[in-house]
Subunit: 525 residues, 2 copies
């Protein structure tokens, strides 16, 4: 077929090509003392791509990366699609067995592994998978750098024939069962990246700090979004609040993203002090508490509440603030800020549906499942046609998240399908209870799960982490909840200590639940 | 074929649907005392679409509008594609014969015509074309309003099967020969609109003033761009500088677009005074003079130099300013600002090619033709496969604009292919001469064309409009030019008076040239 003059396949690689062509001297990547201009960044990308081709990469080969937020992984987001491979960015907080599962399931033919994480990948790579160690030094002698050095600095010819080809496979953190590989398309990545640019307000002056793991939904597509505006990426091997505050100042950071748990760490760090300019961030992964939002504002950190899943390339909805809301009472504002809002500009509008796939009433009360479709929904689970068909039943992606639909169209999550508590025939949202507890001045964070109860079927139990140097008793916490919640919603018990978390900072409620339901034949009552 | 969960055809109608759903109470349209919220705007769009369907509109029927920048034409940009028709927004400054040509060539089945412009369309509509008058009152009794009132307020079912279908046909102003219908796709309109959002920096707080005609490249795709961010459109029946300054203040305008001629009118208006906030605008259609840029900055009006053609949905390239340029000498900065730059974020990189289709050297000196391709290049000329094939030869759109390619990749127009002056074997850029003349303090604007010369073949002649109350002689202008230009480039003659212009404010050099070359067998020497 002849190439149409008026059509180019959408690919986020074009963002890097354009920025490197127009702004070659702009700083693309900062990593400690290392600095790469867009010219250098693109050259490193092209060296990696051409070396992979020289090493026998075939169209659609999976190329796995097990790295923290370092330049190599940023480069992979352009080099692997440019080379014609599929990027598999692996969660660095998994166990060796889980890493091995992903390498096997994806059939990785190449693995790039950070030296610190090498033990995690030991013996996990399938037969025939080439392994390259990344020392993250940027200097000769680093196997990754030597790999690049043997590549050619010019772009390889593109193999991309259709923008619906797979650009990346992202494994879900998988609270139950084996992880599933979520397939992203070139088209979806391109469009979600543009929505990020518009939603977070990125432009050529933006400096983006990598607090969000790039292995998580490809960093919510931000490697591509930052390249689209020729912004600057500030890398970060690990998220230490003190280091983040130092980088805020030293690199004049303007934007970042993170789960509430990251933000909790930031606002409570001794180094926290109000910035001389507004810094905007997407907060997602879980609804931020009103308390956290207030603390953030005081530091000139301005959150935009985003919501999405691995299956939606990260952010799918935004809670876009409206000036009219400024006039509402504080408490009402806080309630509104906790909502997930609606679809970003390149996504289709999000629905809340009942079991038959029909809209629930937009009454802010009826619980339903959040459902999505459109260009920024995954292509399907890798090699899992049945799981894909199940998730896509009725022509919509079923998120597994439960929420209500407000009269103004905003969605408002109430729970994960499996996290809801049913007590005496009443539904209890664990999130609602968690929000109440989070308002207590001594509480750093908390999680609520259902525990079995002989009388009511289920009751809520709270697991609470206190702020350093603060104290509270179970009785105080429960009494505090009673001030704002119906009696049946208040915790029946409170336990203190650290919370089990996934790599992305989500509390692993299923771990708590397993503990509480041990010995029971089922997990609901 | 079953509908894919992960694909929605790209259409800018989705921008309005989303904004009306999420921000129903935001002001979408301002027109004098009239105000439409996004809810009202969408309802008017849906009424127009459903009424057209009820009136027998079939898929792909052309629906012509002959209107100034009023709400009806803004509504048409969503209603016609929503209904499944193709919008033909006709240039209101054409003659009745030209309007009739377009109505006939496009085979319009519906024509909506502003009452003031009705004489232009008199007798021009082809047989069977329904005509609806638009009184622009917004009140019952206005035939357009009555037409909407008879429609239904709910969206009609979409007929869009493929995003590469035609959304609009825009007729080129056609300096020679009959106008050609340039076809835009849904995909191209969507992507050019997003590039506008990012390039001009639109967001939810944006207030966009309609100084640029919507009939020109569909307002450079800004009806769709403003809807994408739920911004506010401020309509304007005609561009009167005093009224523009009044609206800047009254409506707190943040953005607009216009040809240099519009900007010249603005900065020289008695009402001009520095604004209390920066207002950003795309200036395009011709390179802005350094003088004009300096005057604009002083008023807190910040231009971004954009360049494109009807065939590229309006803006195709941007001259994006870099902080490093701030340190350059004033004169060098002015030179750089006059460049057209490079492709915006959703366009492919632009090339400058020789007659064989190869890149010219990037030396800032070798003249070549500017060539484009990608998603924001037209689908082709309507019913003109030969003209399309000619324009698309070698797989690239040939712009007919001549320019040089700078070492940094920026393109810099030197002339329209037909406007270049060849004098004694030397090429003279008429733009260069015009820029020199424009720096004279008494000059408001000017145009330079070739005139036949027995000795040199061609020589430049300048046509100059002086500022009100200012005086200058031909000798003074020529002497002024000699200070900065090589002798052979200086005008051989200077004439004073008004310049003939196209509807979009471009000076019609061919009119001047025709006058000067009357009686000659050819137009070059």
């Amino acid at each position: 077929m002849e190439r149409k003059v008026y059509r180019s396949e959408l690919t986020p690689v074009s963002f890097l090509r354009r920025s490197a062509f127009i702004f070659p001297d702009k700083t693309a990547v900062v990593h400690g003392d290392r600095r790469y201009s867009y010219r250098q960044f693109a050259e490193r990308v092209d060296r990696l791509a051409s070396r992979l081709r020289a090493d026998g990469l075939r169209p659609g080969d999976r190329v796995a990366f097990l790295c923290p937020n370092i330049p190599a992984l940023l480069e992979a987001h352009f080099a692997i699609p440019a080379a014609g491979g599929i990027l598999v960015a692996i969660n660095t907080r998994l166990s060796a067995a889980e890493v091995a599962f992903i390498l096997r399931d994806s059939g990785a033919r190449f693995l790039f592994v950070d030296a610190e994480l090498a033990p995690l990948a030991e013996g996990g790579a399938p037969a025939g998978c080439a392994v390259v160690r990344v020392d993250d030094t940027g200097r000769p002698g680093d196997p990754y750098e030597d790999y690049l050095a043997a590549g050619a600095p010019a772009p390889v010819a593109s193999w991309l024939a259709d923008e619906e080809e797979t650009i990346a496979i992202d494994y879900t953190s998988g609270t139950t069962g084996g992880p599933k590989g979520v397939q992203y398309t070139f088209r979806g990545a391109y469009l979600n990246a543009l929505a990020n640019v518009i939603g977070l307000g990125l432009n050529g002056a933006s400096v983006y700090l990598w607090t969000l793991p790039m292995f998580h939904c490809n960093g919510w597509c931000f490697p591509w979004a930052v390249a689209a505006v020729a912004g600057t990426n500030v890398c970060l091997r690990r998220v230490e609040p003190g280091r983040v505050w130092a980088l805020f100042e030293a690199e004049r950071v303007t934007h970042y993203c993170g789960a509430p748990t990251v933000q909790i760490g930031l606002v409570n760090d001794p180094a926290a002090r109000p910035l001389d300019r507004p810094v905007t961030f997407y907060v997602g992964g879980a609804p931020p508490s009103p308390t956290l939002l207030a603390q953030s504002h005081a530091l000139n950190l301005h959150p935009i509440h985003a919501y999405g899943l691995t299956e939606t390339y990260g952010p799918a909805t935004l809670n876009e603030w409206r000036p009219a809301w400024d006039a509402l009472p504080e408490e009402e504002q806080a309630r509104i800020r906790g909502r997930q809002g609606q679809a970003h500009v390149t996504a289709d509008l999000v629905r809340v549906i009942d079991g038959a796939g029909n809209d629930v009433p937009r009454d802010g009360a009826t619980l339903g499942e959040v459902a999505m479709r459109g260009n920024t929904v995954m292509k399907g689970y890798y090699n899992q046609p049945e799981a894909t068909a199940e998730a896509f039943r009725g022509g919509w992606f079923h998120s597994g998240d439960l929420g209500v639909w407000h009269p103004d169209g905003a969605i408002d999550l109430r729970d994960r399908k499996k996290d809801i508590i049913i007590s005496g025939g009443e539904n209890i949202s664990t999130i609602e209870v968690e929000r109440a507890i989070a308002r207590h001045p001594a509480v750093l964070e908390c999680a609520v799960v259902a525990i079995p109860d002989p009388r009511w079927g289920e009751r809520p139990k709270a697991f609470v982490t206190l702020k350093p140097g603060r104290a509270a008793t179970a009785e105080e916490i429960i009494a505090f909840c009673r001030e704002g919640l119906a009696g049946f919603k208040c915790p029946a018990a409170v336990a203190f200590g650290d919370l089990p978390k996934t790599s992305t900072g989500k509390v692993q409620k299923y771990v708590l639940r397993e503990r509480e339901w041990a010995g029971q034949a089922k997990r609901i009552n």
